[in-house]
Symmetry: C2
Subunit: 293 residues, 2 copies
C-alpha cells in the first residue's frame, strides 16, 4: 500500500474512469491500471468494478477509500505543518462560506487579506452549512464561515460576532417609509424565503415564531439575489441579513430595521479538530474576527 497507489485509487473513484483519472494525476493510463491492480493483489480483493461505461468502487474499495482520504489528508497536514514550522505564512488556504454570508463578507475581506498576506493563495468554496461541515471533515476546506451549526465532536465552532436581520420590502410598499418596522405590521404579508437547506431560512422562521408571526410563504428561492429581485418586483417581502442590504443599490427595494429588539444571527468560524491549523488559516480567522466583531 503506497501513497501514490492511494492517490490513484481516489482519483479513479472520483473520476469514475481510469483514463480521466490518469490525466488528472498526470500519468499514463496503463501505469494507473498497473498500480491499482497491484494494490488489489496486495489486499487480496478487487477494489473497483470495471463496468462498461464507468468505474465504481466495490464494497472493499469504498471502505479503503475512506482510509485513503484520511491518509492523504494527514500527509498534506504534515507538509503544511512543516512549512509552518519554518515561520512562513504561505501556501494554499481553502475557506468555505455559506451563500448568505459569502458575497457580502468575503470580497472586501479577501482583498484586505491578499494585501496583508500576499504569499497565501486563498480558494473559496460556497455551499450550505451541512456540506461545508462535511468538507471540513474530509479536509477539503481548512476553514468555514457559517452561522448556526449543530455540532459534531470533530468540528470546532466558534462564535465571532453577529449580524442584524432586516426587512426587505419593495420601494413602493406601505412599510418602505417606516423608520423601524413592528412585527405586527407584517401580518398578512407574503414572505419570500430561502430553501430549507439554507440556515437563514430556519433562522427567519425562528424569529417569526418568537414574534408570534405565522408568515404566508409565497415562494422558496435558491439564493438571496433571486429573492431580492422578487421583492423588487413587488411579489412579497423578505427578512435578509443587514450586510446584504448595505451593499444593495437597487432603488426598487429598501431595507428597514425592525422595531424593538432587533433580530440577529450568529456568525461563526468552524474548523476540524483533526486537521492541522496553518498559520495562514489562523491569520484568516483573525481577519474575519476583525471584520465581523
Amino acid at each position: 500500500m503506497e501513497v501514490h497507489q492511494l492517490v490513484y485509487l481516489v482519483a479513479v473513484a472520483e473520476e469514475a474512469s481510469f483514463s480521466r483519472a490518469a490525466e488528472r494525476v498526470g500519468v499514463a493510463q496503463p501505469s494507473l491500471s498497473q498500480q491499482i491492480k497491484k494494490l488489489e493483489d496486495e489486499l487480496g480483493t478487487p477494489l473497483l468494478d470495471r463496468l462498461p461505461r464507468r468505474v465504481v468502487p466495490t464494497a472493499a474499495g469504498e471502505r479503503l477509500l475512506g482510509h485513503a482520504r484520511r491518509v492523504l489528508a494527514e500527509l498534506a497536514d504534515a507538509r503544511r505543518s512543516l512549512a509552518d514550522g519554518r515561520g512562513e505564512i504561505a501556501g494554499t488556504l481553502t475557506v468555505g462560506a455559506i451563500p448568505t454570508i459569502a458575497p457580502y463578507l468575503l470580497p472586501d475581506l479577501l482583498k484586505r487579506f491578499a494585501v496583508a498576506h500576499p504569499q497565501v493563495q486563498v480558494e473559496v468554496v460556497e455551499d450550505v452549512t451541512a456540506r461545508l461541515v462535511e468538507m471540513l471533515d474530509r479536509a477539503e476546506i481548512d476553514l468555514a464561515v457559517l452561522s448556526t451549526h449543530d455540532g459534531g465532536p470533530t468540528i470546532h465552532c466558534e462564535r465571532v460576532g453577529e449580524e442584524e436581520l432586516a426587512l426587505l420590502v419593495p420601494a413602493l410598499h406601505r412599510l418602505a417609509k417606516s423608520k423601524a418596522v413592528r412585527w405586527d405590521a407584517l401580518a398578512g404579508e407574503r414572505f419570500l424565503v430561502l430553501q430549507e437547506m439554507h440556515c437563514l431560512s430556519g433562522q427567519v422562521s425562528e424569529v417569526c415564531q418568537r414574534q408570534k408571526l405565522r408568515p404566508a410563504v409565497a415562494m422558496r428561492g435558491a439564493q438571496l439575489s433571486t429573492i431580492a429581485e422578487m421583492v423588487s418586483a413587488g411579489l412579497g417581502v423578505s427578512v435578509v441579513p443587514a450586510m446584504m442590504a448595505d451593499r444593495d443599490t437597487n432603488p426598487d427595494r429598501v431595507t428597514r430595521p425592525f422595531a424593538g429588539e432587533r433580530p440577529t444571527r450568529e456568525i461563526c468560524l468552524a474548523w476540524s479538530l483533526l486537521r492541522y491549523r496553518t498559520r495562514a488559516a489562523k491569520a484568516f480567522e483573525q481577519a474575519v474576527r476583525e471584520r465581523v466583531g
Copy 2:
C-alpha cells in the same frame, strides 16, 4: 514522503538509533540512512539530530512524527478494515486494562476468548487510566478496560457494569468477624491506599467523603498486592475491589462487605472514535460485557 520512509523515521525516533531501527524494520542500516536523508532533502529540513551516542528528533522531526504515526495508524486501520470485510474474526488485538482490574478480570476472560476466537492474537497492556487513554489516541491499543474516565471528544467510553468495593482487614482485626462493616466503625483506622494515578484511589476517597469519613492514610502503595500484603501484616485496612477479594486465598486477611448501601465503581470499555473497530475488538467487548454484567 513515502510510507516506508515514515516507518523508518518512527523506528529511528523510537529506538534512538539508526542501527537498532534498521534491525527492527528488517533492512540494512545504510538503506535506512539513505531514506531518512532523502526525506530530509524532500522536506528541506533536518529531522533527526545525530548526537554522538544517540539520535533525537529535531523540532521539525517531532512535528512530522505526530503526523507519521497517524498516517501509519490509518494504514493499519485500512488493512484491518479490509480483512474484517472478508468476514474473518482474526488478526491481532491489543487491549489495555488498568492494574486494579486486569489481574482479576483478564485471566479468565482471555482463556475463554482464546477458545471462542482462536484466530485472534490478543496482547495485553496494563497501565493507569491516563496512559491507556493516550494509547487509545495513538492507536497503540484497540480497546481499554477501565473505570472512570474524564472524557475527551475522540474517546468513546461506555459503562458495561460495576463492581463492588469491600473492606480488606487483617484476619485478626476486630472487624474481621463482622458480617457487614458499618462506616462509622472505621473511624481511627489506618488506611492503606493506592497512589493517586490509580483511579481506585480517588474512588475510595470519594466514597469516604460521602460517608463523612476522614481516613488517616498510612501509606500509598503502587499496587494492590503490596497493599494486601501490608494488610496481612496488620499495618492497616484498605478498600479494594470485591473481584480481587474473590481470588484472594491468603488466610492472614479477610474481606468484608460494607453495611447499608454497598459502594461500587463502574467498569467501562473505551475506544477511540478515530480508529477502526475490528470485529475482533467488538467480540472482545462482548466478552467483557458478558463477564462483567
